[in-house]
């Protein structure tokens, strides 16, 4: 049965399942290694500064994408920042309903030029406002794994 014959029922077209069977082992990179180690070991969020472009990258980069300088100045930024945008997710990656809606926000940390995307919790979606102050909540030290999820989520300040 070809494309020019009208197929009323897609089950009439024979098909089989297959996959591309690969998995991946990622490295954090030179910048990522230090960024994640600081979060895990010291609960600190670091960025890198390009003095020429007056830009603080969080997550940090070893180069400035704007002027291509090698960045060597690491600066701590605040755990607090402001909400630049947010969404409330109701479905997962497969399109299935989530047990609880989940809020994701773009957060500009004080001292950083770029922003970070992370979960926003401990607040009702209807109460979220643009520019509201939020802060990082770290997992307990023993539970941190050197992952971006060592910051469990952000929550409103106060």
């Amino acid at each position: 049965m070809g494309i020019l014959e009208k197929v009323a029922d897609n089950r009439e077209t024979k098909a089989w399942y297959g996959d591309i069977p690969v998995q991946h082992l990622y490295t954090a990179g030179v910048a990522g290694e230090r960024f994640l180690s600081e979060i895990r070991d010291n609960g600190k969020i670091l960025g890198t500064l390009c003095e020429k472009c007056n830009f603080v990258y969080v997550p940090p980069m070893i180069y400035c994408e704007r002027c291509f300088a090698r960045l060597t100045e690491w600066v701590p930024v605040s755990h607090k920042g402001v909400v630049e945008s947010f969404t409330v997710g109701y479905i997962d990656m497969d399109g299935k309903p989530l047990p609880e809606p989940r809020v994701m926000a773009v957060i500009n940390l004080d001292g950083a030029t770029s922003s970070l995307v992370h979960f926003l919790e401990e607040i009702e979606p209807d109460d979220i406002t643009f520019g509201m102050e939020v802060e990082a909540v770290f997992r307990p030290k023993g539970e941190r794994k050197g992952s971006i999820l060592d910051i469990s989520h952000f929550r409103p300040v106060g």
Partner: protein, 387 residues
């Protein structure tokens, strides 16, 4: 034809390693930064960027061209990624060439990156789905099998032995000892190659290049700009590329026709009538040792079936009449797919400028050729550079 002269004016590369801490972005930055520093340009003097990388499944990032773009210096610039499988590393500089030759841009940064180590359990797995899912995938083929079929056909057609072919691995791995970026430069003997693990007969462990992470970059400039940047520009003299049938079983595997067509295209553009006399250094694609021989024949640099003799008599040694893979090739320097092809262009750049250090071939070579091969075992890509 109405295109402008284009020169390579700078080059850079990272070490090739089995697993880098650096991300693909960071590898690309290191190579690009070195290439720009080598010709004392800054990113704001680069008008366009082209990027080459093989399957997204290696790095494990879909749309990795876009993902890596900032590491390749493409922030807010005209940017394109190309991908023709293993042929990418010599195709991407061709893409860069037409950016400048066309008159659209005076400068172009060409970056090729590959980070193969993420792909688990082996990058080989990413290739299963290049085969026809109806007639070939059910057989569970892998690339080694295909190469083995081709190598065996080549050996059979010309009466070439495994030992003849092993000479290439011996030569290239030794050449790589002099390359500061090389992953597996070492002294091996023909016996070592013969006694190494059989992977898919006649292909053995030491017949093949390794899995690698790495990046390379070159800077291209139009004639007028190139002459302001350097007094040693290396010119594009010819480019060629050609695609064979996607059905690798529809052709005789003993000879790479697509490489010949790509070479003829490049020779015609360069005005080369007698390539054997007019090409001084060759960097053919050598992911497997027999491929160097196969490709030398496809490039018309020797008669069919005669490449092993050239190797045996020392013609292709670094101090021979026609040095082949003086860099150490993929067999010695390593094989981060797209970056490995561009490494060959970098090698020609350094050799033609007399800057290849311990690897420098004698006699002030005037012209060199780099070639890569890939897609579904079907593409030939060729660049001829001269000074």
């Amino acid at each position: 034809m109405g295109y402008r002269k284009v020169a390579v004016v700078g080059a850079g590369m990272t070490k090739f390693v089995r697993r880098s801490l650096e991300t693909g972005k960071e590898l690309s930055f290191e190579a690009s930064h070195m290439a720009l520093e080598s010709c004392q340009l800054t990113l704001d003097q680069i008008q366009s960027v082209v990027f080459g990388s093989a399957p997204d499944a290696f790095d494990g990032v879909h749309m990795k061209g876009e993902y890596i773009s900032d590491g390749a210096g493409a922030f807010r610039k005209p940017y394109m990624r190309s991908y023709v499988g293993g042929g990418t590393g010599v195709f991407t500089p061709i893409q860069g060439w037409w950016h400048v030759a066309s008159g659209m841009f005076d400068t172009c940064l060409v970056v090729c990156e590959e980070k193969m180590s993420p792909c688990q359990p082996h990058p080989q797995g990413a290739f299963l789905t290049i085969f026809d899912h109806t007639t070939e995938r059910p057989l569970g083929p892998n690339l080694l099998w295909i190469f083995a079929l081709e190598m065996n056909r080549y050996m059979h057609r010309h009466g070439i032995t495994e030992q003849d072919i092993a000479q290439v691995a011996v030569k290239n791995k030794k050449n790589a000892l002099d390359h500061p970026c090389a992953q597996i430069g070492r002294e091996v003997s023909i016996d070592d190659v013969m006694n190494s693990e059989v992977l898919a007969w006649p292909v053995k462990r030491l017949d093949i290049s390794p899995v690698s992470d790495g990046a390379c970059a070159i800077v291209l400039a139009s004639e007028e700009v190139a002459k302001r940047i350097t007094d040693k520009p290396v010119w594009f003299e010819g480019v060629g590329w050609n695609l064979e049938t996607a059905y690798w079983t529809n052709r005789d595997l003993y000879y790479p026709k697509q490489v010949e067509y790509a070479a003829r295209m490049a020779y015609e553009m360069a005005g080369i009538r007698e390539p054997r006399k007019e090409i001084n250094i060759v960097e053919p694609y050598d992911p497997f040792d027999y491929k160097e021989l196969h490709h030398l024949e496809g490039l018309l640099l020797c008669d069919k079936g005669k490449a092993p003799e050239l190797t045996r008599s020392g013609v292709t040694a670094r101090n021979g009449d026609m040095p082949v893979c003086p860099s150490g090739g993929l067999l010695g320097v390593g094989n981060p797919i797209a970056a490995a092809g561009l490494m060959k262009i970098c090698e020609l750049f350094w050799q033609l400028r007399g800057e290849a250090g311990k690897r420098q071939v004698p006699g002030s070579p005037r012209r060199g050729l780099a070639q890569a091969w890939g897609d579904l075992m079907q593409v030939g890509t060729v660049v001829v550079l001269g000074r």
